[in-house]
Amino acid sequence: MNQFIGSRALPDLVYHRPGTMDDLLGLVKGIEGEYRVVAGCTDFIPAIRGGKWRFADGINVVDIRGVKALSGIREEKGEIVMGAATRLSDILVSPVIREKAPVLADAVSQMASPQVRNTATVGGNLCMASPAADTAPPLLVLDAKVAWRTADGEETTPLNKFFLGPGATVLPPRSVLTEIRFPAPGPDEAARRTRMGQRTAFVCSIISVAVWLRGGPEKIEAARIAMGAVAPTPILITAAESVLIGKKPNEATLAEAAKTAASNIAPIDDLRATADYRKSLAETLTRRLLAACVGDLA
């Protein structure tokens, strides 16, 4: 068992801050010994202070924030593309996101604090693969894909396939997450999200829910529901989709879909909430969000 120590020291680091993508990939490829890619460090530093992560002196830290190409948000061929090192606060003020994907801006606005958002990055949030990562549910319902690069090439995968477990992703060794992209939603689409914490502001989610619908007041054509903090990773819950698709979105349908979604998760009890409470919230919040989306579509 670890000793109890209030706050641990950071190890002696070898700090790298490459300025271009090529330098970054070359560095990561050739680096010897232990290394970590970091962006905002808002997960990295607390993990060491609290004893969750331990590194030997001399660990290489590769700060990707020097690579301009990794930051920024653009619209490209009907897709919205965010660099992995885009800061949360940049997402919040991005005109593209505010117009095309307000659901993401809404999620980000409730994440951490303004100070943390000014350094934390979206890529860091996804790579950390916390079950409670708050950017994940909206990105999942927006059908996002993530791309990573190694010195040898690039690969893309749906975000849905990205997470493997708490803290684990499909990212291969010596790779860097580069981009997150999702199709710009059309006028017949609506997306909403919410989350619950033990207090309102500046708190880790005990559950977060995002929903997306395509269709109109008469018929739902497509639906996605995603949740955070109810499984080992943020998840898409496909079971409820069939309840909605092809149906008229009335109260009963939405309630049934919410119930189905909630019965298809298997959350755990932890410090922040019990499984029962999470399930109960899953149903309530999903139902409320679906109703709000239907309102948006009308």
């Binding site: 460090c41 607390p46 700060d63």
Partner: protein, 162 residues
């Protein structure tokens, strides 16, 4: 590993040798003796260590000193003009937005950046409260802090130097 960084700190250029494993908080407090930057949780949770980095509030405990290379940094010390208090400081004193004072430098920085960027009329209460959610205060119940930030905006609008 030692690294030489260059900051513009409180409007003064400075070159500083830091350890790669040192946070900005540690560099500011221990090397530059900018002790208004307070230390409490060291994990980004309390906001006592808030400084402005290129005009935006950040937790200096969550940032490597090396990663701030080239940045323009402002701390509470830098809000003073000689012995004259910045209007937001006056507002905090006049409206009793400070009790023990430990959270205060961090709140001044967050509040200052909020007011500096705000245009138009009065700052509404909800905006202020959300903007300072990352600055915990255990003494004031936030009431007078919110009022002081509102008042600071009024003083800025009235033409007080900023």
């Amino acid at each position: 590993m030692k690294i030489t960084v260059h900051y513009t700190i409180n409007s003064k250029a400075c070159d500083l040798e830091v350890d790669a494993g040192e946070t900005l908080l540690e560099a500011l407090r221990n090397r530059l003796k900018l002790t208004s930057v307070h230390r409490s949780c060291e994990e980004g949770e309390c906001g006592a260590c808030t400084v402005l980095l290129n005009g935006e509030p950040v937790n200096s405990c969550l940032m490597l000193a090396a990663a701030a290379d080239g940045a323009d940094i402002l701390t509470t010390e830098g809000l003073m003009r000689g012995d004259q208090r910045h209007p937001i400081m006056d507002a905090f004193v006049d409206l009793h937005g400070m009790q023990c004072g430990f959270c205060t430098p961090g709140l001044l920085m967050t509040g200052y950046s909020l007011v500096r960027k705000a245009n138009g009329g009065d700052l509404d209460e909800a905006t202020i409260r959300q903007s300072i959610e990352g600055n915990l205060c255990r003494c004031t119940g936030y009431m007078n802090i919110v009022k002081a930030i509102q008042e600071a905006k009024r003083r800025k609008d009235a033409g007080d130097w900023w």
